[in-house]
Symmetry: C2
Subunit: 191 residues, 2 copies
DNA sequence: CCTTTTGTGGATCGTGCGATACAGAATTTG
DNA sequence: CAAATTCTGTATCGCACGATCCACAAAAGG
């Protein structure tokens, strides 16, 4: 019935995500985006409505890829401690690459208060991470790998909170050697 | 020899700090600042050179007031666990007030990579916090309040990292009731 | 093949940005 | 009191911003 879209929407969102991730929302201009995406301003606005719309799409994509990766990472074989350690350090490695940190943490810092849509999206992602982690902890408790005295959900929330701290700190202290001992202390709460 | 400055520089920096803290660097315009500070643009540029200069002054002020408060908080009488718990929860209370978070965390997220001056300033502040905390832990170890098996500096770095996570999470989960159990888990690493 | 519909990139819109210029007011020195 | 110096607010600078417009291109239906 009409002309087809020429650019790959998914790819465009992926590139926009990279840019927002590295520079933040305000410091990334629509012109920066059109250049990086190889898409004219008209097409961009037709597809996403506004800079904000594209940002939300980028956030959603981040959530989905991150959730998929983290879940896959947590479903690796091995004892809970090993799996969680690997997940934490992998997230740090991603954050220190280019010193971009974590898009969600950056979004919280830059866009809150004010952007309630982002607040909701971020909160949901953190809750989902916590719940996935809690499930791993529950299973590990059943297998007797960790102590069972604590509520798995609270423990998982603690670990997610610590991870966010790690993602912040790794932006000014990217040396993994300095961060690994902190991870070990956090993991000692599983004893 | 010439006309005296009419506005209180310290007070102006304090107000600028509030604004940057609440809205972030990019989202705060120079005109916003002149209005909030009650100072004309000419005077502002004469005093601070640039928007960036004023931001750095605000960061410095934040470091100084924060360091002073935190140190005072840590020098309260009481056992280490109580003192550290109070310090963590006080920082959370400050961050959730107005959902502004922590200026340092916001600075890390919004201005890095790129602003090396801010990176250095933030890193120094985190190191200072860690060292002050390590001193408290050392003293507590000597008094037999906490277990002495761990390096106090590493333990302090863990607590600072966890605190930063708490400051991030509290921006989307401001309910202290939900955060207190996480603090207790973090404090259990002192056992 | 012609009409209709949608996508295209570039030109353009009005606005607000950070920064500067400047005329006048205030203060000190001689 | 006059000269010199600095601070004051405001007007203005050039520019980049997000958003929109639009002439043309491409695909589908009759």
């Amino acid at each position: 019935m009409a002309r087809l879209r020429e650019f790959d929407t998914e790819l465009a969102v992926a590139r926009a995500m990279e840019l927002f991730w590295l520079r933040g929302y305000e410091a990334t201009s629509v012109r920066d985006l059109t250049e990086a995406l190889g898409v004219g301003q008209g097409s961009l606005y037709a597809a996403f409505g506004s800079k904000d719309g594209l940002y939300r799409a980028a956030l959603t994509r981040y959530r989905e890829t991150l959730a998929a990766d983290a879940l896959a990472s947590l479903e690796e074989s091995g004892d809970a401690r090993t799996v969680i350690r690997a997940m934490l350090l992998e997230r740090v490695a991603i954050a220190t690459d280019g010193a971009r940190g974590c898009l969600l943490v950056n979004a919280i810092a830059e866009r809150l208060p004010g952007d309630t849509a982002t607040a909701r999206a971020v909160r949901e992602t953190l809750d989902a991470s916590r719940d996935a982690l809690a499930e791993v902890l529950r299973a590990a408790g059943r297998r007797g790998e960790i102590r069972t005295g604590r509520d798995p959900v609270t423990l998982a929330a603690f670990l997610v909170t610590f991870l966010n701290g790690l993602l912040v700190v790794s932006k000014v202290t990217p040396e993994v050697r300095e961060l690994e001992p902190l991870v070990e202390i956090a993991l000692s709460t599983l004893d």
